[in-house]
Amino acid sequence: MSPAAFLLTSLSLGVMVLAAGAYALLYGAARLKNSRSLFVLAGLAYGVLALDAAGVVLATPLALAWKLVIAASALAYLRIPPLTWGYLQRTHRDEGAHT
């Protein structure tokens, strides 16, 4: 791996997880406020994540196995915020029903 490729790959992975955080944050805020514009921003954040992950898969010298892990992670990041939110709503609703 060339020095430039090393640095670029590493930074791309950092950006990917950072974008996942931004997506989760904006998704949560959008659900809270029921805001269409925040949903769009959350989508944009995930778009950055997806583009970044595609860049890592297509243009970096990582081994194929790691590229598969990155691609699978990018898909998992898409589902985690809605799944977590749904679980939170369900548990709080159940709590409301019990108290």
């Binding site: 590493s10 950092g14 990041y77 985690i80 709080h92």
Partner: protein, 466 residues
């Protein structure tokens, strides 16, 4: 207040004081990087570093213990079993830590003999404390475990949180026993040593802070036990699923078989996933409660824990965890930046949150709010982010110029250390270290004075729905 809560306050005070020692020794260690002749012949850099790292372990450990002793009587409706032993051992613990610190500063090291291992230091990173002190820590851990498990058994009832905590006491005590062996083969020694360092930090401590934050959320927000326990079980499953074999990322390049590269890389790559769920949960709690709470600092520190953990462990960790990249970044300031941010987010913020929860009840304050906690919060977090950012740039310069371009030769090492990116980052780290230290002073002042001048009001604790 109960004896257990009195002991908790002592532990939390000691934790905050050792947090100060950690901050001061961190500033000392940072000074060597910008002035290598600093304290030449008096105090070696390695000693300042040992003090910094070891006090970090100690203050977090004391913070955990303080938090657990604080919540135990509420969980079981009684004093913990063997509280008398814990009260005695608190003073033994503090005296031992001070004695070890004095040995590190004034004796520093000895010849490579058994006497040195027993009396001065063991020379193993994070667990440098001499054997007599390590035995003391093991004893303290054993009594701590007895307090938790024994109380649960005698109370004849156990909650989900306390069940998880009780089971967690077993590895917490057993793993510490790895602090003792004297293995001459360095690869074998490191192999086992990482069990202690990684599995304490990324397994047992994660579960312990998970339990503590579950109890804190019930107090702070009145969240129901059903919800926090549900989340705790999920967290335990994810921590054990990703964290245990994530151990493999420490086995890179230390003489272990190649398969650890795959195992370590894969499970470490999964570690950001649960942290993302934590971010969503933090948003949910902040939104549902509209940031309204009677204890704003405790709530904000709890939120800072979720975000700090995600950024420090998730983002900063993921950049260097795949073996092909770790080959260059391993052991550089890049790792240090990840370590600083991850420890801060995962543990320190949580303990500070509990400090404010305990303070509210101890001083019988209806609400906890002031401007000085905000200053402490901004300066500590700002200083930490600045330090981690500076170390990140320094580490990138090291990995790029020294490792990737220079091929890790001695010449390349010197070139890396003299590179302007590295040098400027070291100055910047020191500057942000001063900001962090100012934040510590604001925090100490706030904890000391908060509510002292105000009329105390009898408060009714928030009772979580069953």
């Amino acid at each position: 207040m109960s004896r257990s809560k009195n002991l908790a306050v002592k532990y939390l005070i000691a934790a905050v004081l050792f947090f100060g020692v950690m901050t001061l020794s961190g500033l000392l260690a940072a000074t060597y990087y910008i002035n290598p002749e600093f304290l030449f012949g008096l105090l070696h850099f390695s000693i300042a570093k040992i003090l910094h790292i070891d006090t970090m372990i100690i203050w977090l450990l004391m913070g955990f213990m303080g938090a657990v002793y604080w919540f135990l009587p509420d969980e079981f409706g009684r004093e913990p079993v063997g509280i008398w032993a814990a009260e005695i051992l608190f003073w033994v613990f503090v005296a031992a830590v001070l004695a070890v610190a004095a040995i590190f500063v004034f004796v520093q090291w000895g010849p490579g003999t058994e006497t040195t291992l027993w009396l001065f230091q063991q020379g193993r990173k994070y667990v440098e404390a001499p054997r007599w002190a390590a035995i003391g820590v093991a004893l303290v851990m054993l009594v701590f475990a007895w307090n938790v498990v024994g109380t649960a058994m005698q109370a004849r009832r156990i909650t989900g949180v306390m069940a998880v905590m009780s089971v967690n006491m077993v590895p917490l005590v057993l793993l510490y026993l790895i602090a003792f062996p004297n293995i001459s083969n360095m690869a074998v020694d490191l192999y086992w040593w990482w069990w202690l360092v990684h599995l304490w930090v990324e397994a047992t401590w994660e579960i312990l802070i998970g339990c503590i934050m579950a109890l804190a959320m019930m107090k702070l927000l009145g969240t129901s036990r059903q919800i926090v326990e549900g989340w705790l079980y999920i967290e335990v499953a994810l921590v054990l699923g990703t964290g245990i074999l994530g151990l493999g990322h420490h086995y890179f390049w230390i003489g272990t078989p190649d398969y650890w590269l795959g195992i370590g890389g894969f499970f470490s790559a999964l570690e950001p996933l649960p942290l993302l769920g934590m971010v969503v949960h933090a948003i949910y709690d902040a939104g549902v409660h509209r940031m309204k709470t009677t204890n704003r600092p405790a709530f904000c520190w709890a939120l800072a824990e979720a975000f700090g953990n995600f950024l420090g462990a998730g983002v900063f960790g993921f950049m260097i965890t795949l073996p092909q990249l770790n080959l260059f970044a391993h052991g550089t300031q890049w790792t240090v930046s990840h370590g600083h941010f991850a420890f801060w987010g995962a543990y320190a913020c949580g303990i500070l949150s509990v400090c404010y929860i305990a303070l509210q009840e101890q001083r019988r304050l209806a609400t906890v709010d002031s401007s000085s906690w905000v200053w402490a919060f901004i300066l500590l977090n700002g200083g930490l982010i600045g330090m981690a950012g500076s170390l990140l740039v320094a580490g990138m310069a090291q990995a790029f110029f020294e490792r990737a371009i220079g091929g890790s030769t001695l010449e390349a090492f010197i070139a890396g250390q003299e590179n302007p990116w590295f040098v400027i980052s070291m100055y910047s780290r020191f500057g942000f270290g001063l900001v962090f230290a100012a934040g510590y002073l604001a925090l100490a002042w706030n904890l000391l004075t908060l509510g002292r001048r105000e009329a105390t009001i009898s408060i009714r604790p928030v009772v979580p729905a069953e």
